[in-house]
Symmetry: C2
Subunit: 218 residues, 2 copies
């Protein structure tokens, strides 16, 4: 059996606290981006909304390679309300997916689940109106679960792995920690935490250069 | 100098983690309430908006003794936008105060500070429209800083004091911890954490019985 002095113990406690992501420790800095409400369209739905064979117009590239904001906008409609001027992201996807904040969902009277992109289990329905047509996008609406995009090299640097849940402490005056943020690793990703406008407003995030602290969950 | 065994150390570390409000520890349960946007009116502003000598109509009592929701509603207007149907709380106060979420503030193009009720340093301006008149409520708009109302007995039970900053971990699926929630102690208070709709949506709070965990900051 080993015995330790009080100073040894203090050092051990400090190490444990630091490694376990204790609120008092600094964590590792990581850039944060806010995702506004948007839709991804399938080719078929794009044809219905904008006309057969229509090509979406790239407005600007997003931080994730290959993804871009389009010039085109659509309107979302339910029996309870509507939201106009909703961004369309390109390129087309296999399935149409609508990503809202819970604030948006209240406006539309929807109760979408919190899901990672691509996971449409229990997703809500919404009507999408385009300039040339209308679709009922059944099972398409989710609220995006906060997540981190990173490359395998980043994962090594932060000491985390694909699918792991971490906490992100926002480095803002209105300090908030998101306790269940999922790590997503791919060589095609750009390093960024993605949160929605409810999470951003809860943390009083503003401006373009936002930094959080990545903390490992205990 | 004292020496400790490995088991002693484990016990000491566990105690430190528990007392310091580490995310892994449970904390103490505390009820949470969501405050929607609302205005408090001075007597003079109430007279201008609703008519001289008008008496506000109590609709229902709020959790804080003596405070009530009124039947009356007002409209908030700026150059950028407007929000109709905003709740008026009674009784009248010394100063008119408008409490919005940051989501509301974006709609109105305002950048109000995060403040405790009654602290209007740097508060933003807004036009308030009533059925009988209009006022420009200069320096009236704040975003409410999250806070806890409790009695001196509650403070003893939770081991906290007036003015102390604590963390509140929301007991919801979309787990969020608010890291700077201020304790307010008065014998006239009812026990409740007050958060706004941005914080509630970031935590996916819904339903009427919401419980958080009070954690002491390290």
């Amino acid at each position: 059996m080993n015995y330790y002095s009080e100073n040894d113990i203090k050092q051990i406690v400090a190490d444990v606290l630091s490694r376990s992501g204790f609120a008092g420790s600094k964590g590792m800095e990581i850039p944060v981006e806010i995702s506004a409400r948007h839709v991804h369209l399938s080719k078929a739905d794009k044809d219905t909304l904008f006309g057969a064979g229509y090509t979406l117009t790239r407005k600007r590239d997003l931080s994730q390679p290959g993804q871009y904001l389009c010039e085109e906008r659509v309107k979302l409609v339910t029996q309870s309300g509507e939201i106009a001027n909703v961004a369309v992201l390109g390129p087309e996807r296999k399935e149409t997916q609508v990503e809202l904040s819970l604030t948006d969902a209240r406006v539309l009277g929807l109760k979408p689940p919190i899901r990672l992109s691509g996971d449409l289990r229990g997703a809500a329905d919404v009507i999408i109106v385009g300039p040339k047509g209308v679709i009922t996008a059944a099972g398409s609406v989710i609220v995006a679960k906060a997540h981190v995009h990173m490359t395998p090299d980043d994962a090594k640097k932060y000491g985390v792995e694909h699918g792991q849940s971490v906490s992100i402490r926002m480095g803002t005056e209105r300090s908030v920690t998101l306790n269940d943020v999922q790590i997503r690793v791919s060589k095609d990703f750009g390093l960024a935490v993605h949160i929605d406008y409810d999470e951003a407003n809860a943390a009083q995030v503003s401006g373009s250069k936002i930094v959080g602290q990545l903390l490992k969950n205990g």
